[in-house]
Subunit: 322 residues, 2 copies
């Protein structure tokens, strides 16, 4: 089932945003155009524009205004992907060569910078400083999240709060402001804007926890990469942390490998142990709790097609993961 | 002679901006704070804030408003330095280790992104969308310039227009908007804003041409790197281009090395040839012409201390190069 099928009523508008995304790249600088639209053409769920459009339904829906936040939000997401690829020396994304592999690190670095700047520049066509504040603040937070994630590599002394703050910055924030900025751009009432932010935040948290879970529970074929890739790369996520916190025989084995610096030697056992441990059920329950909160955030909204779409999308993007 | 000595009347305000620059970095994320203030502490001429303050003198001068563009402009400049260091694999800047060398590419990449975003975020505290448009547009142009510079490496088929467009994006634009935004932030009359932009643009062009010239005319000791470093790295600047355009015996020798792919073998001869060629005088004259235009841009402004400072700075930052 394709996400687009869920919200058929937005199809035309999402396609319009898609064309605007492509138009947003400067065709006159050909190398830049090619490198920046390369990723664009690889497609994607365009989930952020969809949230903008749904947020826009709570005020006076105007696609010409909404595109001025929908396009920037998708561009910001794309810019982070381009920069992730530079850093991680990745060679494939969405089945295509990355910008970095096809051109080089220099081009990819500045392409990411270009896309970030273009995103913020497009948003300035909306004569509303609040929009610019929210967008630029979100990028600041996302960068902090990226740096924290580097600091947290192989760090097993993380509490739940620490993990949650990291995934907020990494994922939930951009989804939250997509929902919020759609409502702001359409001049929806403040309480609708708040509801949309809370909905987006909670969906984003649920989504990232589910994604971290999937890295252990899915098959290599489903993932397109080895099971437990996060752990192999030192990115310690909730299922792994919970196994450690939970103690017991498995927790102690994990701890001793870590303390003796032998985790890499025992990586397959560690992954099997986490897969079979209680961190899986715990993470699933926590994702479910965020999903409940996302639904609760919509409680005061009138029961209409937009609300039903938001509820369906929340279920879809989180639950398909299990 | 220190640049600060020239405009003593700004000393206190420049020091205030300096403290605000340091405060603008988030101390709570310690790694980030250290990496981002590392470059800050290395100092610099703070020429962009100085231009902002001088631009601000043409309207109602308010340091609390001016800092909201002065700090972002210096941060944008710093972010480009951090990203240049990642890309160029540089290990030293201003006599200190680069962020990249002291931490690593990942940290430096996201530190640069963080500084960019922080810059734009600080500017949003000014409730003036025009400021945000100008700033984000400038970053877009600067990124294009960076990508063009990569494309233009070892490209000898550049005309003068091409070279000038590249240095505009690389250097002149940020100086131009520093002057312009200072005037805008202090709500100076439109014609003053225009004059300041033109002044800054022409000073910036003169400055970059002088800098490109210096790479051939200065000594290794003065430069802190080998003479002709630009050419050695494939960055082809005006003195080199002019030698080629100018033809004659030297131009033909240069062309034959290029066409035979033997420039690197003959790099010392090529540098000596350019140093002794007419490209030097041509570049010097062109820098002088831009300097004249910078002075002319100030012609309609009242003859006061601010104008005299602008004239002195223009002379200083360009002519000390020769």
């Amino acid at each position: 089932m394709n996400l687009v099928d869920i919200y058929v009523q937005l199809k035309g508008d999402v396609e319009y945003i898609e064309r605007e995304l492509e138009r947003s790249m400067d065709a006159r600088t050909m190398e830049l155009y090619q490198s920046s639209t390369h990723l664009l053409k690889a497609g994607g769920k365009r989930i952020r524009p969809v949230f903008v459009l749904l947020g826009g339904k709570w005020g006076s829906y105007d696609l010409e205004r909404l595109k001025l936040v929908a396009v920037p939000l998708e561009l910001i997401h794309m810019a982070t992907l381009v920069h992730d690829d530079v850093i991680d020396d990745a060679d494939k994304r969405r089945g295509r060569e990355t910008v970095k592999a096809k051109w080089n690190n220099r081009i990819a670095m500045y392409t990411g910078d270009y896309i970030f700047a273009r995103a913020l520049n497009i948003a300035t066509r909306l004569d509303n400083p609040r929009v610019h504040q929210i967008l630029s603040k979100a990028i600041v937070e996302m960068c902090k999240g990226e740096i924290e994630q580097i600091r947290d590599l192989y760090n097993w002394n993380q509490g739940l709060k620490h993990y949650l703050r990291r995934i907020k910055r990494k994922t939930a924030l951009l989804i939250a402001i997509s929902c919020q900025l759609g409502a702001i751009a359409s001049e929806a009432p403040e309480e609708r804007i708040d509801s949309m932010y809370r909905y987006g935040y909670n969906v984003g948290m649920a989504f990232q926890i589910a994604d971290d879970l999937l890295d252990f529970t899915a098959t290599e074929k489903q993932l397109g990469k080895p099971v437990g890739s996060d752990l192999r790369q030192g990115n310690i996520t909730l299922p792994a942390l919970y196994s450690l916190w939970n103690g017991g025989r498995d927790g102690h084995r994990l701890r001793s490998w870590i303390e003796e610096g032998k985790l890499n030697e025992h990586i397959e056992e560690a992954i099997a142990l986490i897969r079979g441990g209680e961190g899986i059920a715990y993470s699933r329950a926590l994702a479910g709790r965020y999903l409940d909160r996302a639904r609760a955030a919509l409680a005061d909204l009138p029961d209409n097609a937009t609300k039903r779409s938001l509820l369906e999308i929340a279920n879809f993007i989180v639950e398909r993961k299990f």
